[in-house]
Symmetry: C2
Subunit: 681 residues, 2 copies
């Protein structure tokens, strides 16, 4: 039932740029991660037009066709030009894909992910040995699209690409806070956009058991607050990820981090069973009992059930942070340890891991665990995920263990993308031999979830994870931080188009705090702040799983785009303080500090009215003096004037105060401001 | 695996406002829809605190408990104070629910939806005869929350509430553009927030068949581009809606709007079968063949299958817009009509409807259809949904047919909330008798989907539908448009907190168009625009299902908040042009026109670079002269000066040009600006 329209005759859709028209050459590419080799043909470009023909030669799997249609839809959305909605049977077109084979039925760690992409005046050719490679190639194709006054174009390029590391992961902790399936799906989409290939699904925690077991239904009945993934959900996510060239490695934490198991099945406990899901954060004392055969019978059945849902060759058993004081107290456990010549908790956990390994081996699965599982008692086909750091990872490799680096990629440290970006699983100064280096499978970004929920998770993960994705994919010597930030912005926008909410969540949070759609002042104010790290927040504000996450700290985002822009401008000013060339940078900095300082009165009014804003009051008071300090320092520097001792003393006091913990947020501009004050004579 | 934290001892969470502290009385309530009676006790309020105890007395259905927990979570998010995560067995608490019964196993049209809500110094009591009534009461409770400098409070009120109409619906067209399940879920959440109770799911269209049939799988295999709801999806949505007090009425369009049926099963066709899903919009000529028994056998099986998925007492069969020229051409159909004494297409369609009605009656379902099904041949238990208008609806009621009004609630007309708001299913000047008035079940908002997709749908539906929801729920004499707009803003924010994207989608669209996160100028510019109506767009730009929906027109929103604010300010200025009391309104208007006009140069630069912005170029050129005109008119008016004839002529030309169709968008300020120019001497 629609409008009284006369059915319009089908008209040919307008072609925005004729195929033969000369098109402008775009200024610079925004490929991220950077391909292995890119050859750019100067002077011309291929104009994207609405009559584009598409051909899929070679292997025509449903997965490949769906990926191609998704890429075409994104090109359509970006260009505003209709693209084909179905893949015909033509053998060549303006866009031709040649895919040799669909690849393994279950994507493997040795899957060939390479591709070649050529844009010529005649059109686009994408060649890949597998569907996964072609999927990566399509992402590069979408990134090549550039707007010009004459319409959208593709620069004439020849790309030959393959990843540096085989394991390029993102872990999401769905235990401490549950994330709905659609949140995970949009994050999978974003992962695919930057060519990550492992979704590590942290499914169990002291704070929640999130995966349905039909054999042990109490695990979610009693251990999840009703927030869990059904087996159908999990199968759907595995399917969704595979369609995008991403493996799903599930993690079931054992023997520690297991309060939610033990609430449901207290008979597995080493001592006193918890009386409910753990609400507090931090390491808990509870642990599965590694000395009873019933434990292994339970885990055999459980892991067998899970292996029917998760086809990946790897299963993660956690294994970290198990102080397990009960193991030293429970007489039965003590005598078991004596009988088996196990001298300490570490030895008992190694025994446990050996037993679990045997179960997994029978299920044709390889075992992954955190640093703590690393023990000479275990065979060499175990993979160690290092949260303790490069040294720990290297030590494992020296002893012949495969490893995945995670320590420098903890997003809840709220560090800037540039810092994560430079941390390398195999750094230039590595002491590992080439053979040992091969044991480093790659890296994994970790998103722990104490302080996030479905509203804020995206802004904690993106776009910073895109920078890390380049580290995992691109050559070791791709290390230009400024160039990374230049490319990160358009990628961030593309991620938003894919459905990730990292850019819109901040305003949504601010609107809620302001109780108004008019948030100009609060938005400008908020640009001056970012959340403190997990541990700093935890020290300032006692939080638990029950803490609401709708404060100012939750709305603002780590490493906001303004932060790097301020740093760049300050560097330009400091490099040539008296030069006319610095005028634009001076102006940018002055504007920022002027505008930010001007918001304080309006925000102070809001703080009085809204209890959730009150923690930030201390920071609001500090803001104006800091902005004035910055403006004074800029004036002194530009005029090459000397500061008075009083000014310098006052500056020191202000900076010291501003660096102290307060309001659970920190200023985004402390680093450039400190440099500026130091630079004043 | 998380930080090396020593487990912190559980500390009692800070209580923001002690229960006994005197709390400020909030200024005014923002209940929407307005309850039947509200008694406000002045001078005090109940302070919300983190130790709130909750009791659920009477019927303790899982549905009621889940609804209560959802309401508590929202109170927690708003106040920043932890709320209970489980419902204990206490018989009284600070918040006590008394629910007499869970209600019908399938929510019915006669379900008692009333509730009483009392906030006293001792706490909150919510009493309702059914779970559905209590669910509505919880929405009022959440709306009562108010921030004060002393913390969040609930005003002391006594509310006695029940709806005016039994049928308060929202229809979403998922045929022309598919909407993912999570989009529908968040819209169901928003419906519940404003006490709507019918989700009318438009599942089939010429452009797509969106519901899986296991008996006739080709319907979606060939008729959906792979975009459809599985039966599990549909059952899940029905469950989700029921949990929120909302019925789901499915619509299967027949005999017209049926190209997607006929692509899959051409044997049902009256003439030539379509060779694919229809991509063009407007009324199509295809129709099911009402003269073959095979058609009724097919529909019997199909509707039987669907009745197993959709438990609601009503099934919608569409029935509109069936020109069906084949019925006048096909010799077999012509002879059938002669044999059955059916003189025209209308009579043949009435015959068809009678047959379908018999099928539905056997399935214990009642039939709903659009105006066109209205025919004296049909019995009186058929419900007519009127898209043709109040007169058509009234005519039906006069003949004894039940009806639901939709004509004034077509959201794709892009009219302001205030216009929709005043349209009443039973207006004050109705000529219907009280008995006939009872046949008007209520109204339904219609969201047709030619020009929207999952990114833009929310902003087309919300917050305007909230205003209409008040029309369906509240008393006939609740008609204060300004007061409605006052309350619409906080409700709009609450909808965003529930997950609807209507506020964030505009910025997301603008970022994509600007290819930048820095959109201050474009955002200010965009405030001056709103999308034109469906039909005006369709006339300016030939669109089809294949048209990308990522233009400027798609980013901007209908009836943006600034529009009513401008109108209010202009009314204030015009009411007292020379009074000092108008100073703030003058300032607001000047700021708006100054700031808007200042954005033109930056936006013109963007337009050159971004092909998708180019349609709006003509409007950009008009903007600055219009803003200057407004500023001049304000100056003349305030100074009580007379305009020159040249100025007036020029003003007339500018306004006339601005009122012409261009750029698929219109200015938000034409009405106040026209009034202003007319007011100048």
């Amino acid at each position: 039932m629609t409008k009284r329209l006369v059915a319009a005759a089908a008209t040919v859709l307008a072609v925005a740029a004729s195929q033969t028209a000369a098109a402008q050459q775009p200024a610079s590419l925004v490929l991220l991660p950077k391909p292995r080799t890119v050859q750019l043909a100067p002077g011309a470009a291929y104009p994207v037009h609405s009559g584009l023909t598409v051909a899929l030669a070679g292997a025509r799997s449903a997965r490949m066709q769906a990926a191609l249609l998704r890429a075409l839809k994104r090109m359509e959305d970006t260009t505003g030009l209709p693209m084909p909605r179905a893949i015909g049977s033509a053998t060549s077109g303006n866009l031709t894909l040649n895919v040799a084979a669909d690849g393994e039925p279950v994507q493997g760690i040795e899957e060939d992910e390479s591709y070649r992409l050529a844009v010529t005046a005649a059109g686009v050719t994408l060649t890949a040995p597998t569907t996964v490679g072609a999927i990566h190639g399509l992402e590069s194709l979408v990134q090549l699209l550039q707007a010009t006054p004459q319409g959208y174009v593709l620069p004439l390029v020849s790309i030959d690409d393959s990843p540096r590391f085989r394991w390029r992961g993102l872990m999401i902790d769905c235990g401490r806070h549950f994330e709905p399936l659609d949140v995970l799906k949009r994050n999978i989409d974003a992962m695919a956009a930057v060519k990550l290939n492992v979704f590590h699904w942290h499914l169990t925690e002291d704070q929640g058991f999130r995966i349905e077991s039909k054999l042990y239904p109490k695990l979610t009945e009693l251990g999840s607050d009703g927030k869990f993934y059904t087996q159908d959900d999990a199968r759907e996510l595995v399917r969704y990820a595979r369609e995008r060239g991403i493996r799903v490695v599930p993690e079931f934490e054992m023997p520690g981090h297991s309060a939610a198991w033990l609430v449901a099945y207290p008979e597995l406990n080493s001592g006193t069973a918890p009386d409910g899901i753990r609400r507090e954060f931090g390491v808990s004392d509870v642990a599965l009992d590694p000395t009873r055969e019933a434990t292994y019978q339970f885990l055999t059945r459980f892991l067998t059930e899970m292996s029917g849902i998760f086809p990946d060759a790897y299963i993660h058993i956690g294994g970290d942070e198990t102080p397990a004081p009960d193991w030293k107290k429970n007489p039965r456990i003590i005598s078991f340890m004596q009988a088996h010549n196990l001298h300490d908790n570490e030895a008992l956990q190694a025994y446990f891991n050996t037993r679990i390994l045997a179960i997994l081996t029978k299920l044709h699965r390889r075992m992954v665990g955190w640093d703590e599982i690393f023990n000479p008692a275990l065979p060499k086909d175990v993979v160690v995920q290092s949260w303790r750091g490069e040294a720990s990872l290297a030590k494992g490799a020296q002893q012949g263990y495969q490893g995945v680096l995670s320590a420098p990629y903890y997003l809840d440290g709220m560090r800037p993308a540039g810092v994560h970006y430079l941390a390398d699983p195999v750094p230039p100064d590595t002491t590992l031999t080439p053979e040992q280096q091969k044991l480093i499978l790659g890296g994994e970004v970790c998103m722990w979830a104490e302080h996030l929920d479905q509203r804020t998770i995206d802004s904690r993960i993106w776009p910073r994870t895109a920078a890390i994705a380049e580290r995992f994919w691109s050559a070791q010597d791709v290390r230009d931080v400024d160039d990374m930030y230049r490319r990160l912005q358009p990628v961030s926008l593309e991620l938003e188009s894919l459905g990730v909410k990292h850019l819109s969540s901040e305003d949504a949070g601010l609107r809620s705090l302001a109780d108004s759609t008019q948030i100009d002042a609060l938005r400008t104010f908020a640009q001056a702040f970012e959340p403190v790290s997990f541990s700093e927040r935890y020290q300032q504000q006692h939080t638990s799983q029950l803490t609401p996450l709708t404060g100012f700290v939750d709305a603002v985002v780590p490493d906001p785009p303004i932060k790097h822009r301020l740093a760049l401008a300050m560097d330009a000013v400091l490099a040539a303080p008296a030069s006319a060339e610095s005028a634009a940078s001076y102006a940018m900095l002055r504007d920022f500090f002027h505008q930010t300082s001007a918001t304080a009165p309006a925000v102070q009014k809001m703080i009085v009215q809204e209890p959730r804003l009150q923690p930030v009051e201390s920071r609001t008071t500090q803001l104006d003096p800091l902005c004035q300090l910055a403006l004074q320092a800029l004036a002194l520097l530009q005029a090459d004037k000397k500061a008075t001792p009083e000014w310098r003393a006052n500056a020191g006091t202000l900076l010291a105060e501003a660096n102290k913990s307060s309001g659970i947020v920190r200023f985004t501009f402390m680093e450039p401001l400190t440099k500026l004050v130091q630079a004043v004579r």
